[in-house]
Amino acid sequence: MERASTSQFAVALRQFRKHRLAVWGGRILLVLYLMAAFAGFFSPYDPNYYELYPPKGHHPPTRIHFVDPETGRLTRPFVYATKRSIDPVTLQPRYEEDPSQGKFYVRFFVRAPEQPYTIFRVFRSDLRLFGVDPPGRIFLMGTDNFGRDLFSRVVYGGQVSLTIGILSALVSFALGLLLGGIAGYFSGRPFRLSLPPSAWRGVGLLLGPLSLLLWLGVAAAALFLAFSFARLSPGKDLFSLGIDALVVLLGVLAAGAILYRLFREPIRLDPDDLIMRTVEIIAAIPSLFLLISLRAVFPTNIDPLLTFYLVVGLLGFIGWGGLARVVRGIVLSVREMDYVQAARALGASDGRIIARHVLPATASYVIVSLSLTIPGFILGESGLSFLGLGVTEPYTSWGLLLQAAQQGGFASFTDRPWVLWPGFFIFLSVLSWNFLGDGLRDALDPRRRQ
């Protein structure tokens, strides 16, 4: 039967189109991600290529001429080669245009066989969007201290910055959905973590003694820690002795409670409590400091690719708590809905109920908050790299490029403002993601539709 009404998706799409900033955000992101995916094609040079002689360090952006100085008419864009000299006062390199070497026209779709690249690590090519014939050079955003083309590095840096945003968002969402879902769905249905000896039958015959041993170990550990506390305590005054006694008492009580419980009824643990306490603990430590402390756990001189995944993992680990809390709330309310009760009455398994009824209910929230957390992760990565704790050479990211910009003190970017370019790319991508997320939220939330 053909429906006269429009589908949910079409309504959302129409609503999304009304949010013009969101549409623009989406377009800008499309461009940025395409540039990152086909970085080799869009960048005129290899990001790690530099010339030893003549050196091109700290080269300002190449000026592109549109007017022929001889005829005064508009012409095809061209650049001049540059001549390097050292400023006698500041000892910094200076570059001046050198028309004597002739004009180097900007050509499009050039082949650069000496600097091939691969796309997605599979397709080899040497076709570049634009370039000039050597010895002319075109540096759209100048060069860094080695003389590497900053524009090419920004394009390649986007690969890291933009994918880390998405990857860490996915990691934190996988964790948040899984743990938030478990916490919400199994809230009030605690897991049994031990068996009293009276219930040792069947599989319990194996699991019972094992869990018994485990819990005896826990009780012993509590006692041991409490007595070690008293043993190590240096203070001999009344107050210290009081604290020692209190701690020992706590330890004995904890061990006693475990033993008492162990032989009477199963020890139960509500996963909701466990997960939400963990979220609280992670949220209790300021996130910037937690991130840096966690980064310090791993040495800084490990393999660059490993560092990349490490940063993804750390950012994802920091971010899952808030999401888990919200997902838990949604699942808790969905669980009590009539249709879920109906499914349970029909004999659907937990897995089926979760997959068919509970998860779809969280979908629109997840899409929206995914697009609103990605910019946070992009900022997080750039901050970490800016402190020198993020990705390392030969990989580069916008944060790392900015770090290089301020490393030589204020003079390094007041004399060479082009090194600030990567910051604009961070800003642009984060802004676009924010707008996109905002538009998605308006589009997917019926209450916000106009």
Partner: protein
Amino acid sequence: MTTYVLRRILYLIPTFFGATFLAFLIIQMAPGDYLTQLELDPKVTPETIARLRSQFGLDRPVYEQYLLWMNNLLHLNLGYSFAYQAPVLEVIWPRVVNSMVIVIPSTILLYLVAIPIGVYGAVRQYSLGDRILSFLAYVGLSVPSFFLALIAIYVLLQIKFKTGVLIFPVSGMTSSGFEQLPPLRQWLDIAWHAVVPILVATANDIAGLSRLMRGQMLEVLGQDYIRTARAKGLAERVVLYKHAFRNAVIPFVATLGGLLPSLISGAGFVEVVMAWPGITPFFLDAIANQDLYVIAGFLTVSLVLLMIGNLISDLLLAWVDPRIRYE
């Protein structure tokens, strides 16, 4: 109510132990310890290292170190800094105070700016002013604070090169010759240095707060009692500020408790870029040096403040909103 507070405090105990242990574990998991860098120094003999290690207690097992530290903590003693050879609290406190010079004005400024923007956005929804203000708020949200600080430094220095006037200093907290200034001038000097960091630190947070305020205000304005208030002929000003605003602002009371830990956790990257001697660069150094008890002590203080802050939030909420009752 009293039972609720007591239960909340009891719940805090496992969280406290869990988080301090986590913080301690993280620091201990890092390879090496404070003395590892000293070992590379050929002038320091292995005997000295061993002596220092036992003096600092670093040769003990991790759980013993934790228990000793916890023992000190229960005596309200945060431990001893290896790098500064002084009690942690004495080392941290001046840095925290320096950070507060930025954080407190910036927080006040944040509320002063964000709440009016949010209210305006709700009252004149989709007007040109609303669009411009929320666009600017998003710009503020999207600029990495270290980049904003770099831009501010660049602009200020360019102005200085052009005109010879340094409008605001770009680095540090005090001018040279600070010691010789009379007390009032010293205060002015610090305030002068703090202007740019305060503005930069505020820019990031305006969007979040003003969007929240706008959403709250919109929701309240759609309620029936607002229509009733208008129908009975109240002035629009009275409707907005007596009926709507007072209800819309309730959730913000809940955020007040969260301000307590943020008071000491510093202004973040701004301090690093602008060489402000606050807690952030200090903490980074402590991590690089593996100055164990400085890190653990600082994390503990902010943890305790966070837990107290959350408790205060809930109590405040129950106080201002008679609909909320704790069993």
